[in-house]
């Protein structure tokens, strides 16, 4: 009588779950976070770091949705001030031209570079990679793979951090 090694049984049982997990997560960007030298400014607590990263990534997702669906109101939950104004202007310009742009994020390498002493602003640098698919009236005009650096400043609101400055090509 042959005995199967226990590891083989475990793999057979769990492989479908692992694979499903990988497939479900396949369209999610990889995210790395480092805290750069913020000497002298306020130190970033773990809970704050987790909240800021979560809200920043959610802001990217909201921005992508707004640009793809040409709905500026989708920005409201995650952007304020200059960042919201400029992104909303871009969405409206796309709307007028009949253009859509899809930001297919692949990776974010985030560095927290500044946390203001009074805790009212936090600055991130994001080395991001994404595919930008540009379309017009539902037809794809072209796709470009983009590697760039975004600088973002987030400020706390009642329930979450919102992006106040969002600037690529920095």
């Amino acid at each position: 009588m042959k005995m199967k090694p226990p590891i083989t049984n475990w793999l057979r049982a769990t492989c479908p779950i692992l694979l499903a997990g990988l497939l479900l997560g396949a369209d999610r960007p990889t995210v790395e976070v480092t805290i750069a030298d913020t000497t002298g400014s306020r130190s970033v607590e773990k809970h704050t770091q987790a909240s800021v990263v979560r809200d920043y990534l959610a802001a990217w997702h909201a921005m992508g949705q707004a640009m793809e669906q040409n709905q500026p109101e989708l920005l409201d939950a995650f952007f304020v001030g200059v960042a919201k104004d400029k992104l909303a202007e871009t969405v409206r310009a796309q709307q007028n031209l009949g253009i859509q742009s899809a930001y297919q994020e692949q990776s974010h390498h985030l560095q927290i570079v500044f946390y203001s002493p009074e805790g009212l602003s936090i600055q991130l640098l994001d080395d991001v990679e994404y595919d930008l698919v540009i379309g017009k009236h539902g037809k794809t005009l072209g796709t470009q793979h983009v590697r760039t650096r975004y600088v973002a400043v987030l400020t706390p609101t009642e329930s979450k951090w919102k992006v106040r400055i969002f600037q690529g090509g920095s």
Binding site: L87, Q94, I99, T143, G169, S170
Partner: protein, 290 residues
């Protein structure tokens, strides 16, 4: 050999959607300053459509291949990374470029906190400045920012900081004299100012005096001042406590015209103490009385 051909074919098919398989016959400058005019030369002939898309703007323009495409100073004002597509029939050329902030500061986003603080607080006041250009882009190149805090007594503290990724910050001491300070930040010709109120700190000492009034004892403090000689503001609570025979009576009195005043029953051998915040004052032992 067959394997090489297959690999090359696969690589080309992977690159095709990214527009890298076609040689680009136009050349965008890799970096353009926001709000400046520039042009891009194209090759070929016939009509085409130019698309410029980024998070900062979206443009579309009909162009003639072989001619240069002129961008005016009004066209691209928002800093960011942009993708340009030039579509002529089934042919598409592509380019990427950055629009960067202009070099001159035109606005300062200045956060001064807190706006009200006790006098003589070391590093109690913080100033944070984000430097912006005329189009509200963040100037990420280093800029000198001068912070000045005027004292109600006429003195000025001054610090110079250089921006890093567009932000500069300092910590300053609050004034020693109560009153309003002006906290200024300037970079280039741009100056922004915030008012900061220096309020007196905790009382330095609390001293009460007493005199009898029949069966009662009248208690009154000397005018309360902080350790820098500033009058402690009216409304500050002073607590009088009387301990007698294991029982305790407490009276909280707000300062009026700088002093706190109250009356308690004059019980013989009672001990009355006074305090304000964390500062303990003197004690009085009642002799005689009830």
């Amino acid at each position: 050999m067959k394997r090489w051909a297959t690999a090359l074919c696969g690589l080309l098919s992977l690159l095709a959607p990214y527009g890298l398989a076609q040689p680009s016959a136009w050349r965008f400058p890799p970096t353009v300053q926001a709000g400046t005019a520039f042009s891009v030369q194209t090759s070929g002939s016939g009509p085409a459509t130019l698309y410029v898309v980024g998070t900062g703007d979206a443009l579309q323009r009909s162009v003639q291949l072989g001619q240069s495409i002129a961008f005016s100073s009004e066209d691209l004002r928002n800093a960011g990374h942009y993708v340009a597509l030039l579509v002529a029939g089934t042919e598409t050329q592509s380019a990427q470029f950055d629009v960067v902030a202009s070099t001159q500061p035109a606005g300062l986003s200045f956060i001064a906190k807190p706006s009200r603080l006790p006098v003589n607080q070391v590093n109690g006041l913080s100033g944070v400045v984000y430097v912006l250009d005329a189009f509200r882009n963040l100037l990420v190149q280093p800029q000198r920012v001068t912070f000045e805090l005027s004292d109600p007594s006429g003195g000025t503290q001054s610090r110079v900081a250089t921006t890093r990724n567009g932000v500069a910050w300092v910590k300053m001491n609050s004034a020693t004299k109560a009153g309003s300070s002006q906290f200024r930040a300037s970079s280039g010709d741009i100056r922004v100012q915030r008012a900061v109120l220096n309020v007196p700190g905790e009382p330095c000492t609390v001293k009460m005096n007493s005199h009898g009034a029949g069966q009662r004892i009248v208690l009154e403090t000397d005018p309360l001042r902080d350790c820098n000689g500033n009058a402690v503001p009216d409304g500050t609570i002073v607590t009088f406590t009387e301990v007698y025979g294991g029982q305790q009576t407490t009276v909280d009195v707000p300062l009026k015209r700088g002093v706190a005043r109250t009356e308690l029953l004059a019980r013989s051998r009672a001990v009355i103490s006074v305090a304000s915040g964390v500062v303990m004052g003197n004690e009085i032992r009642v002799t005689g009385g009830q």
